[in-house]
Symmetry: C2
Subunit: 169 residues, 2 copies
């Protein structure tokens, strides 16, 4: 009655990173077809104090890289948040997929009990076990940003649907 | 290096159902304070062919009830989709929490290999194993609707933040 921490993380992140890449490709094609400045989508927000599309994608990638990598005890490479175009966002997604593809399932052994420090060195520092880190923190955070990116593009008229969001599984 | 199917499902759904209830309570209070017709929020959409808030909440509850119940081999009660008010949506969330609280962890034994039929009797019928049903289908669907409800309310000026979305864990 159990599943591995690897199975509960890497394939899920990869599935939704794949759908995020497809959704962004459709948005880019839509902009080209309708003569829309790509930045009108890349910098779109659902409300003035929400983050724009570019940041939603960057942060989705951050959770997709850091959650599996930290569970696996691997180094988490820093990404510089310099992406300005659809092509650059695609590259960020691709390098995130490559990173987590490079983690071996065996590295996740015992990770459900590995102690993970959230926001280290800040007043909000908190230590939680690996299982909660994945299920109660990492996946909700990741899905939040992928779905917000989708919602932002839907709100801007991109013709995508739930099937695009769900991706291949 | 494993986690139980119960641990990977029931607590996650409960965490986000709790945050959904809190977010809806804030939206209701906001409407009352600003003399906004509650229906202006309940029937709000991010785009004309997207579902309104009421349906997003109903569907989030549907996945939160059916995914754990089917994994546990329990009956899935039908909900009638008659909710029209914030109070009625809160009641639907509460009965969903009560339902999955009533499932025993032991009922999830072997559920990662239980065969689940999606969309039975339709042209899109498909059978998948319990592990994929939870991780690749159920959780993405659930998070999609909870996040869309959040995004809809944020877009309408409700003062909520990521902390509200994440809930208590």
């Amino acid at each position: 009655m159990t599943i591995s921490m690897h199975a509960a993380s890497v394939p899920v992140f990869k599935q939704l990173l794949g759908s995020l890449a497809d959704i962004l490709a459709k948005a880019e094609a839509h902009a080209a077809q309708k003569n829309i400045d790509p930045n009108a989508l890349l910098q779109a927000r659902l409300f003035p104090d929400m983050l724009p599309l570019v940041r939603q994608v960057q942060i989705a990638c951050d959770f997709a890289k850091s959650v599996p990598a930290r569970l696996a005890g691997a180094d988490v490479p820093a990404y510089e948040d310099t992406e300005q175009t659809f092509a650059e966002l695609q590259a960020r997604i691709a390098k995130t997929v490559a990173l987590i593809d490079g983690l071996d399932a065996a590295q996740f052994a015992g990770s459900e009990e590995r102690q993970i420090v959230l926001r280290p060195g800040t007043p909000k520092e908190r230590t939680i076990g690996g299982q909660a880190y994945l299920l109660s923190y990492g996946l909700p955070q990741f899905f939040f940003h992928v779905t917000t990116a989708y919602a932002l593009l839907r709100h801007n008229g991109i013709e995508i649907g739930k099937k695009d969001f769900m991706g291949a599984f």
